[in-house]
Each structure stands twice: as C-alpha cells, then as structure tokens.
Symmetry: C2
C-alpha cells in the first residue's frame, strides 16, 4: 500500500508519518488491513528525521503537475495536510486561493486520473463555520466562514464531497479544532497563540496572550488529531451519506482555563510568564470561530477528544522530552 | 452607468436587458438612482433583437482574459447569468467546473481589479441545497448539494461572500427557483420539463412529464425572476451581514398541480397533450432538490413570488403573444 502525506515536512505531517510507520498498516478502500510499503512525504521542503526504508521524501510544489503525476502513480491513500495557514491566507488572498484551493484541486484531479480512486483525507478546519452560531454546533450547521482560509477550506469540502459522489475519489474532509500544543516556532495561524501561551513559558520564554482571557477556543492535542486522522482514513466509504465532511471532536477551553491548567501542571513561575496584550486581528478571527461542537458523526466513527486541558499540557511536556 | 449582462444572449439575459432599458436607471453602490448609459450583452453568441443605442453586444468566452479586461473597464454593475446548466454540468464535470467555477472566478478577479468595485449579481440556484431537508427550508439551511451544478454554484457563493467581505467586489448571490415557463426550445437543465409540460402543449406539441405527477418543485415565472434580480441588484450592501447569498421567493407546486393549472387556463385538449414517462436522472435531480423555502431575507428585501401557478401559465401565454 502506497501512502502520501502532503505537508509531510510539517509538524503534523511528520507526526502522522511516524504514527503510520508505527502502525505498519491502514485500512484500504476494500476494508482490508494492508501493510504500508511506501510512504511519501511531500512538502515544499524536504522532511527530515526519517530513517526507514518505507519513507521517501519529495520536495516540490503542489502546482507542479508533472511532479504530482510522478508521485501519485499507484497511490492508495493521500493525507492532504499542506496549506497556507489562516493568518497568511487572510493577508494574502491570492496565495491562499492558489495553494489552498487550486493546489487541492490539482491534487484531487490527479487522483481522479488514477486507475483505482484513492482515499483522500483532507484537513479542513472549524474555520468553515462563522456568522450567527448556536452555543453548541450541530454537525449540519450552515457554513458562513468569515475568513478567506475558512472559505477556501469550505470550497474544497464541497468539491471533495462532489468528486466522491461521482466516484472520482474516496474523500473525507476532517474539520480539525485548533491544534495545541504545537511544538517549535510560532507559525502564522491566527490561533497560534493557543500553543504559544503554553509552549513558550514551558521553555522559559515570556509569551503574549493576544485575546481576552475569557476567549474560548475548540482545541485538540496533536496526539488526538493524529488518531482521528487515521480513524477518518480507515472509515469505510459506506459510512458517508450526503457529505464527506466530518467535524472532529475537541474540547472547549478559555485562555484563562488554558493558563490555569498550565499553572496546575507546571507551577506559578511558568504560568506567570504570560501577559495579556490584545491583537485586533487575532481577536476578530477567534471571535468569528465557533466554540463547541456536537461532533456526533465523528464520535460515531470512533473519534475522541482529550479528556481535559491538563491532559493536553501533560502530553505536550511528555512529547517534548522525547 | 455601465452595466454588463453575461449570458446576455440567453432568454433570461435578454429579458433582463429589456427590463433595464425600460427602467432606464438602477441604484448604484452609493444608493443613487443612475441612468444606464451603456448596457453590454456578453455571451458566447451575439445577442439578437436589440435596437437601442445604449446596447452593445459582445460575443466571446468568459475564459478570454483580454476580452474580459476590455469589456469590464469602468463597469458599475454586472449581472452574471452565464452558466452551464444542471444536466450538462452533471454529465460533463470538467466543462461545468471550467465555466461555472473558473469562468465566474475569472470574472470576479477582473472586477476586483477595477478602481471602483462593481455590484455583481450572481444567479445561484436552489440546487445548492440537498441531503436531509426539512419541509420548509430556512434561509440558514446547510448546503449539501447533490449535483455538480449545485456544488459549483455553492463554491461561487462562498467566493462571492468572501470577496465582498474583503471589499474586492459588492456581490450578491440569488438562489433562483426553477424558472418556468421558459420560451423557445428545451435546454439541458434537468428541471427543463417544468417549462416543457406547459410550453409544448400550448404550441400544439405533445410533451413528456419525466417525473411522477406528485413530484413538487419550487417555481418562479421569468417576470418575477427579472423583478427579483433588479431588487437584488438595487439592495444596499449594508443589507447583508455574514453572507451575500439570498434565497429568492417562489411557489411550490407538483407536476399534477402545474398540469391542472394548464387545464384550467387552456382547456382539456391542451392539457391532454402531456404524458408521464419517468426519466431516472431527472427524477434523481428533482428529488435531490428542496421544495419549499421561507425566503425571509429575500422577502425582507422586497422580493416576491407569483401568487399561484395559474398566474404563471397566463403570464407565459401573454408574453408569448407579444
């Protein structure tokens, strides 16, 4: 079985790759567990840190049609993680459209040309929601995205559902919560502070919380995201009806609750490294997002969320020390 | 004021053009009534039947970037009616994507480059809805289109809302009911039979009803569609909040009710020219569509529907005899 991860040099792509290598097998389109014999990590830069004969790293652009043809030959499954993040997509509309919409479409079109239509797991986002929202969002909530990033993800969801309906591909779009705690340096995701206010203080660095402490977010740890991506992949096509979009479970927590958990787990000295300083764009983005979801369909497929935010902080400390 | 109608050689485009010429003025982006001094009818074929110094006809392709630049210079308003209809978009996925999505996007991108962002009225469709639906569809119903046509329209709606939010354009997407009675020859719209079962018998021609007589549809006469397009255009940008999509009012009637109206208005001899013969694709499409809408936002803007189906038949007879 040949598997491709786009965005394979990113933090999530690499985590997913390690998980797939560790599992050794995935469920194919016929419902059979099959050994992963080839795992391609595709990204604009080469993925580092893999020493496994099954892994190939390819550096290139999603817009490079010839390269896509070459790497997609005989592919059974694609995890499409590559994207321009929310902050950059909002500030550079054209780049967001080119990568998030056109890049995804090029990938889907190339997959459609394969003899066997592959499974495609697309990382969508809860940023597809916006506008007037109930306190608890049902799976069938209407999409009124209020950022270009959310719009691009929603457009891809529609395309993936249609191309799956037509049998061109076997797609599934996973609407991910804000992923926290991300390791490494801050990226340009507008929700990136959620990771920053935990990660930086734990590294002895002062951090800014750019939103009111009461600002809540819908969160999930990297571990759970990876588990849920695998569940989304392994689910049979027959589990889907009128849409291929799945809202992934998460937990809702305010910035204050996130900092309280940090204080409980890591102590006052660490937690006191965070200062509130409001950023209007981040505040706009976070306030445009929904906070809490039923995620019934995702849960029915077997997806789960972290039990509480303390667990997320502890998992991050554990993962960082590896 | 310069106005462009894409699809300007089509039945609806020409009707709209005549209405705009008759009105003489439209409401511009500043809320002022302004004389229409130039009206461009753009289509793949040249629009016929206009003898008015304000009208220019241009034949060409939406994909022709240079032509778009030329005709869009200094444009105040665009009515974007050009599209591949539902049947063709379902049978030729690539053509539907190229015209309905890429063509619309090219138009929007060109409008964005203008010094003053123009008003854009986009003809969307109730085919953006599908999947599990309540009996009466609220304005905020989730979009699960079950045809490629509906998906392409939904993707354009999202893009128009986002580009309007960013101030690139001043767009409004009108979700039109099935338009009946269309004059002329049958087109490849899957809902085309709604017109056929009225138009053909009135012309002395036998007609096929390809769905069960109990099959209901959401309908609107050409006259009302034109009125509502003008209302959608003239509405101030401030009327819109989290979306630029408007569900246009219509009336729900079964094929049987449509034929009963024909019988009442035109007599038994005419109505007896219709025979039921089920077409599976048309039945699939019609059954995937929602039937009845609240259309509260559209009504609040002043949009209206026909009073009953008899009125629609009578209006068609009146329009045909002109």
């Amino acid at each position: 079985m040949k598997v491709i991860i786009t965005g394979g040099a990113g933090f999530l792509g690499k985590r997913l790759a390690h998980k797939i290598l560790q599992l050794g097998a995935l469920t194919d389109a016929r419902g059979n567990q099959r050994q992963v014999t080839e795992l391609i990590l595709f990204d604009i830069i080469e993925a580092q840190g893999f020493n496994d004969t099954r892994v190939k790293t390819v550096a290139g652009d999603l817009g490079d049609a010839n390269l896509l043809v070459a790497i997609l030959a005989n592919t059974d499954s694609v995890f499409h993680l590559a994207a321009i993040v929310s902050g950059e997509a909002e500030q550079d509309f054209d780049k967001g459209m080119r990568v998030n919409l056109d890049g995804t479409r090029a990938l889907l079109e190339q997959c459609r040309k394969l003899a066997k239509s592959p499974k495609i797991v697309f990382t969508s986002s809860c940023a597809v929601f916006g506008g007037p929202l109930p306190a608890l969002i049902p799976d069938h909530q209407e999409l009124y995205p209020q950022t270009s990033y959310g719009v691009q993800k929603a457009m891809c969801e529609l395309l993936i559902s249609d191309m799956s309906r037509k049998g061109f591909i076997d797609g599934r779009s996973l609407r991910l919560p804000t992923i926290t705690v991300r390791p490494g340096k801050p990226n340009r995701a507008l929700s990136g502070y959620c990771s920053g206010i935990i990660r930086e203080p734990l590294n002895g660095i002062n951090a800014i919380c750019p939103v009111e402490p009461s600002t809540r977010a819908w969160l999930l740890s990297p571990r759970k995201v990876i588990d849920n991506l695998i569940i989304g992949h392994d689910a049979p096509a027959s589990a889907f009806k009128h849409t291929r979009a799945i809202t992934v479970p998460g937990i809702a927590a305010s910035a204050q609750e996130q900092l309280d958990a940090l204080r409980r787990v890591a102590g006052d000295e660490v937690a006191n490294r965070v200062t509130v300083k409001i950023d209007p764009l981040v505040t706009y983005f976070m306030n445009s997002l929904p906070i809490e979801f039923e995620a019934n369909f995702g849960r029915a497929l077997g997806m789960t969320a972290d039990t509480n935010f303390d667990e997320i902080v502890k998992a991050h400390i554990e993962d960082s020390s590896q």
